[in-house]
């Protein structure tokens, strides 16, 4: 394989990693703060993708406006998920929590099928091709990467510069102590779920410009997102970003050296082994 092509795959891997990192951060936030794995998290992304798709193709909205609306919509959805599903089972065994969000996954997939059938739908954007040093970079991915980075920066500033954001970080470190500070846990959870939802919405926007959407879209990025979150370490934003980049490189370069499926196999095996060796994540801390 030509070195330029490998470099090209590596760069495209980084670009994909940006969006994966965004997804992982959103899930990590919820996982770390509310301590529940939303199995259906990436299916919220699917909803966001559909939202953009329909607003643009059926209602003729301009893409940026549709994007903002989709982010808001999925944020509200995140809020609802927490209110309706998560909060009644906060005290249930982890198994039940996992399964309730799994039920949500079924519901979202099936309801999307019901509403929109299983057809693959894509925005027909005519985006230019970018050529740098003989490498071809997907403009859609560049765009997505840029916005993913902006989204992450936004999250970073929110979490470090605001009271509620700092409280969200604090919750994942000591959920009882934060209540002693006078923070209402219910509110912290709600805000976290809304932000997690918003991140999923943003990821949806960035993915619909690259891929077509269908009701089972969540299945393509769901598993990889979970393993990135766990590998990066709970509550560790930096870890999530690093794990995303590592995994997307494995997938991207593995894909050209073997096949896409084999690359994913390698990624999953790396994950399984890493859980045995370092259950707290590759960059996690031992608690």
């Amino acid at each position: 394989m030509d070195a330029v092509l490998i470099a090209e795959a590596a760069v495209n891997g980084i670009l994909l990693g940006g969006v994966l990192a965004l997804l992982a951060l959103g899930l990590n936030l919820i996982f770390g703060v509310v301590d529940i794995v939303w199995i259906a998290y990436v299916d919220l992304v699917m909803v966001g993708m559909y939202a953009v798709y329909w607003l643009v193709t059926a209602y003729g909205w301009p893409l940026p406006l549709a994007a903002v609306a989709a982010v808001a919509l999925v944020a509200v959805l995140g809020l609802l998920v927490h209110l309706l599903i998560i909060s009644p089972i906060l005290a249930s065994p982890p198994v039940n929590q996992l399964l309730a969000t799994g039920g949500l996954l079924f519901f979202l997939q099936a309801f999307a099928t019901f509403l929109w059938t299983t057809d693959h739908r894509s925005l027909r954007l005519a985006l230019p091709v970018v050529e740098v040093f003989g490498m071809y970079l997907s403009f859609a991915r560049l765009l997505a990467f840029t916005f993913a980075i902006l989204g992450m920066l936004g999250l970073y500033f929110f979490l470090t510069r605001t009271y509620i954001g700092t409280a969200i970080r604090a919750v994942s470190q000591d959920r009882e102590a934060i209540a002693l500070m006078g923070a209402d846990m219910r509110r912290v959870y709600l805000v976290t779920s809304a932000i997690g939802g918003g991140m999923a919405g943003l990821a949806g926007v960035l993915l619909i410009i690259q891929y077509s959407v269908h009701p089972h879209f969540g299945a393509t990025f769901g598993p990889i997102t979970f393993i990135i979150v766990v590998m990066g370490g709970l509550g560790n934003m930096f870890g999530a970003v690093v794990a995303s980049l590592v995994m997307s490189e494995v997938i991207s370069i593995g894909g050209i050296l073997a096949s896409t499926e084999m690359a994913y196999v390698v990624a999953f095996v790396i994950f399984i082994v890493s859980i045995f060796v370092r259950p707290e994540g590759i960059l996690g801390r031992r608690e």
Partner: protein, 234 residues
Amino acid sequence: MLEVDRVTAGYGEFTALWDVTLRVSAGEAVAVVGPNGAGKTTLMRIVSGLVPIRAGDLRLDGDSLKGRRAHEIVSRGIAHVPEGRRIFPRLTVEENLKMGAFLPAARRHYAETARRVWDLFPVLAERRRQRAGTLSGGEQQMLAVGRALMSRPRLILLDEPSLGLAPVMVLRLFDLIRRVREEGYTILIVEQNVRQVLSLVDRAYLLEVGRIQVEGRAADLADQDFVRKAYVGI
């Protein structure tokens, strides 16, 4: 100011406190001493709303706090420095203090309160940008106290502040608590370190196996043999 009125409480099937009555007046410093497992920490957690009351009542300035959740109790002016410090290790020192001032009322006075805390604990001011987890045990305990002060409380609950600290550090810590007390805060403190704490407070309660055994002025309790007996057994 604070009245704990014949309170019974526990976890699951386990009853940790039986019929405990206790009172703290404004401006007073009161200690609860007693051996391990006596229920001291549970008592503190009841006051701050972390453990529900089964029977009895809890009043602040005459208003019942029964059934209130922790964040509501903080807003009434009670700050709890929990056992084991419980600072947020991956937040900076300053962010920890910010969290202490989470209540909107406290937030408005953040700068002013923070200045008082920096004055009280200069070592924290030096390390304000450091992650709290990297502080030494004593510094972490100071941070925990400072963080509690940030909510501008009227009553501070201190749960085993000397636990796990080196002897020298314990001395310094008690000095600091004394200064906090001199600033006019009302204090309810739980301690194993009996001699130290009795020199600090006005009154004390001896709690043994979930029940108040003795109550009295600190100076009177300090010399009594049964305190030693409660601890060492003979």
